[in-house]
């Protein structure tokens, strides 16, 4: 009898599970909240502030997707993940999307079975060295001790770089950026390597940032991209098109300041009108409301605005747009046409 009850419960659970696996977008809508996996703490990209609100570039991407779905950028449940738990959290359905400075690689795409949305930040691995070390190029680092964050693609790149240049090195694995910073400042390692954005962010918080220099070599390509599970293309489209909407908004000159005016009185630019939902039915195609893109942009502004407020040159992080400028400005950020 006990067994039948047990098996009965299992059957019920199995039936519920079958229904749950259907469509992520419906699940998210039913739940009323987006579950978004972020970093446990990386300056400028995601960190909780004193009142417990999450802030940063990755966080803004999550909020934009929530805005597109619910018209409310606060309808997000942030799930902090480590390098180890992030993929499992996504694969098991604990989070709906992962926005956690994750590099788009072949094996993650194909073998781990994830769909990468759109590249939100073009990064590359660099080296931070004290000026007093007297090194001007990464090629002079033969025999150096290198601090490196584990659980990332950086350790593979580093091994490749030193092997390619026939140099030896001593890796010092560190678990978090804060530890890497501490070891580097105390001289426990000669150079610190991680994504160039992270290096700039770390350097900005030093007591004397001028004493340290980011070496010119960028030894890898790190396209940081939000990602979703394989097999639910409708949901993947929502995330991807939201990213594109942010980029397109910057290109089209839609900002958080003028977006209300633009959507209240549709202008003559049909693409703006289609994007903001005053013309055409793009939102309906996605399974969202007509003003989805407008809502997404209103949360934190367009791509450029998000960049400037979280990691841009006027923040403590102080990153230049560089590769992440719009294609019209010589960068790589490019959104497919909205039609």
């Amino acid at each position: 009898m006990k067994k039948t009850a047990f098996i009965g419960a299992l059957t019920v659970a199995g039936l519920m599970a079958g229904a749950a696996a259907a469509a992520t977008l419906d699940d998210v809508k039913a739940r009323g909240k987006l579950n978004c996996g972020v970093n446990t703490g990386l300056a400028g990209f995601s960190a909780p502030n004193a009142s417990g609100e999450w802030e940063g570039f990755d966080v803004a991407m999550c909020r934009a997707v929530a805005g597109a779905i619910f018209g409310d950028g606060t309808a997000v449940e942030f799930v902090p993940t480590t390098g180890k738990t992030r993929f499992t959290a996504l694969a098991s359905g604990e989070v709906d999307m992962l926005s956690r400075v994750t590099t788009w690689t072949f094996s993650r795409d194909v073998d781990l079975k994830f769909s990468f949305a759109a590249v939100t930040y073009y990064d590359g691995q660099g080296f931070l060295a004290p000026k007093s070390l007297g090194v001007s190029s990464a090629k002079e680092l033969d025999g150096a001790t290198v601090c490196i964050q584990t659980g990332t693609t950086t350790e593979l790149n580093l091994a490749d770089f030193f092997r390619k240049n026939n140099m030896s090195y001593e890796p010092v694995p560190v678990e978090t950026n804060a530890e890497g910073q501490q070891q580097y400042l105390a001289g426990a390692c000669d150079v610190y390597t991680t994504d160039a954005s992270g290096l700039a962010a770390t350097r900005a918080t030093f007591e004397n940032p001028g004493d340290h220099v980011v070496l010119p070599e960028i030894i890898s390509k790190e396209p940081l991209t939000p990602l979703v599970r394989h097999g639910d293309d409708e949901w993947g489209d929502v995330v991807r098109q939201t990213m594109f909407a942010l980029i397109a908004a910057e290109e089209l000159g839609i900002t958080s300041a003028n977006i209300d005016a633009l959507s209240a009185t549709p202008g003559n630019n049909p693409e703006i009108n289609r994007l903001l939902g005053t013309e055409g039915n793009l939102g309906e195609m996605l399974g969202l409301s007509a003003d989805w893109a407008k809502n997404a942009i209103k949360v934190g502004g367009n791509y450029g605005e998000i960049f400037e407020t979280t990691i841009g040159e006027n923040t403590a992080i102080g990153l230049a747009r560089g590769l992440n400028a719009l294609w019209t400005d010589g960068g790589l950020q490019y959104a497919p046409p909205f039609r």
Binding site: M1, K2, A5, G8, A9, L10, A13, G14, M16, A17, G18, A20, A21, N39, T40, G41, L42, A43, G44, S46, A47, P48, N49, A50, S51, G52, E77, F78, V79, P80, T81, T82, K84, T85, T88, A89, S92, G93, E94, T176, N177, A178, Q181, Q182, L185, T202, A204, T205, F206, E207, T315, A316, I317
Partner: protein, 433 residues
């Protein structure tokens, strides 16, 4: 004649001398120091060396500890104020201490975890201070877990109430069935009736009750738990849930049934043979794979399950020690009264064995409580995890010792007081026999 005497004996004392003070080198501070600090040349050297060590440590630490940085808002401000001096930056504690205590729990609801802690003390008082607190309070102890769940997570009151009623149903079914069936069958009947209650009846009436009488608190997601509150919640839950499991495992390990014994021993030795961190990896990466497809519950619950399993293996060993310490006459006495196995356990063995085990249970709790810091490795915001997150904030990037010292001191206060209690209890139990 008197002269003769006076000639031969020069002086005869006819009064007692007043008692003299002992030599000044054996009393007071000097005497104490001579006896306890400088009783030999080895001891003298040891004393001087350790004095020098303590003074060196204090000279380094005290100026750093007492730095007037309480009101600063960022590390940069601290550095400006200290102007190159060596000193702590305590502003981070002032700004973040609610977070270190409660995590992201909504600040206007801090009274809920605080009240839960107070009630926790009320609930365990009749167990810990049995002779000073009326045992009627044990009734409150029984309902405390449900009150605590409701207070911490919020929601309608009907959910925990229905869960509680399940136990009440099981209790009455057991009482009824015990008259007609053997204890084991009565136990099974009780479990089945409780399962029927939880699985079939309460899902039917709970929504109706909730909509009819919406009594409840605002729901708080377990994702918002953090800091010491998270550590305590995980620790207390694990200990409370592991107690019954541990009792069953301990009994199973002593059972005459070889198969049951093998399963229990296998489980206990497996859990005790692997580090907690691997069990936490299972919680964070594998538990969802082991459960039916699509089941998904949040990480805190999964961690609680794994920590409970972990604690129950240790608890089983503690209770086994308690069982072993019972004189054999107690078992034989129970047998001679004609009690069957479960009756003997319930009425004679367990009450005594559990009482002897309390110090061991408290030590297990201290261990589990300290081990909750490991959850920071799987991205949960316990105090250590929060320390990392705080250091990712631009204004506090680069801060280190202040947070760790604060967290360490709080942990010390918790664990030290518990271990003192456990020692007091051990002394009290020792005089008993």
């Amino acid at each position: 004649m008197s002269n003769t005497h006076a000639d031969t004996v020069l002086f005869v004392r006819d009064t007692m001398l007043p008692q003299q003070d002992p030599p000044s080198s054996t009393i007071g501070a000097i005497g104490w120091a001579k006896e306890n600090l400088f009783s030999g040349w080895i001891n003298s050297i040891l004393t001087l060396v350790s004095l020098a060590f303590v003074l060196f440590l204090l000279a380094g630490l005290l100026p750093w500890l007492f730095s007037p940085t309480w009101s600063m808002n960022s590390l940069t401000e601290c550095r400006e104020l200290l102007a190159g001096d060596h000193g702590a930056c305590w502003g981070v504690i002032r700004e973040r201490w609610p977070q270190l205590m409660f995590g992201f729990y909504p600040s206007e609801m801090y009274w809920r975890p605080v009240l839960t802690i107070v009630l926790l003390f009320v609930a365990i008082a009749p167990i810990l201070f049995a002779e000073r607190v009326p045992s009627k309070l044990l009734g409150f102890t029984a309902i405390f877990p449900f009150v605590a769940v409701w207070l911490l997570w919020g929601g309608t009151i009907w959910g925990p109430l229905m869960a509680l009623l399940g136990f009440v149903v099981a209790y009455f079914v057991f009482g009824l069935a015990d008259k007609y069936l053997t204890s084991a069958l009565a136990l099974i009947a009780a479990v089945v009736s409780a399962l029927i209650w939880w699985g079939l009846i309460s899902p039917l009436i709970e929504p109706a009750l909730s909509s009819a009488l919406p009594i409840g608190l605002e729901t708080v997601d377990s994702r918002q738990f953090g800091g010491f509150m998270l550590s305590i919640t995980i620790g207390v839950t694990a200990i409370m849930c592991s107690l019954p499991i541990g009792i069953l495992l301990a009994l199973g390990r002593q059972s005459d049934l070889p198969l049951v014994k093998a399963i229990c021993v296998g489980f206990i030795e497996f859990i005790r043979g692997v580090p907690l961190i691997t069990l936490l990896f299972i919680a964070s990466t594998l538990l969802n794979i082991f459960l039916p497809p699509g089941t998904n519950f949040d990480i805190i619950l999964r961690v609680m399950i794994m920590v409970t399993l972990f604690a129950s293996a240790y608890m089983a060993e503690v209770i086994r020690g308690g069982l072993a310490a019972l004189p054999k006459g107690q078992y034989e006495g129970a047998d001679s009264l004609g009690l069957d196995y479960w009756q003997a356990q319930r009425l004679i063995i367990m009450p005594q064995a559990l009482k002897i085990s309390i110090p061991g249970i408290v030590s297990t709790f201290i261990g589990v409580f300290k081990d909750t810091t490991l959850v920071s490795i799987i991205s949960m915001f316990d105090p250590l995890g929060l320390a990392n997150a705080i250091r990712a904030d631009q204004s506090w990037n680069g801060i280190y010792w202040e947070l760790f010292i604060f967290i360490g001191v709080v942990f010390f206060i918790f664990c030290f007081s518990m271990s003192r209690y456990s020692m007091y209890l051990e002394r009290k139990l020792q005089t008993g026999h």
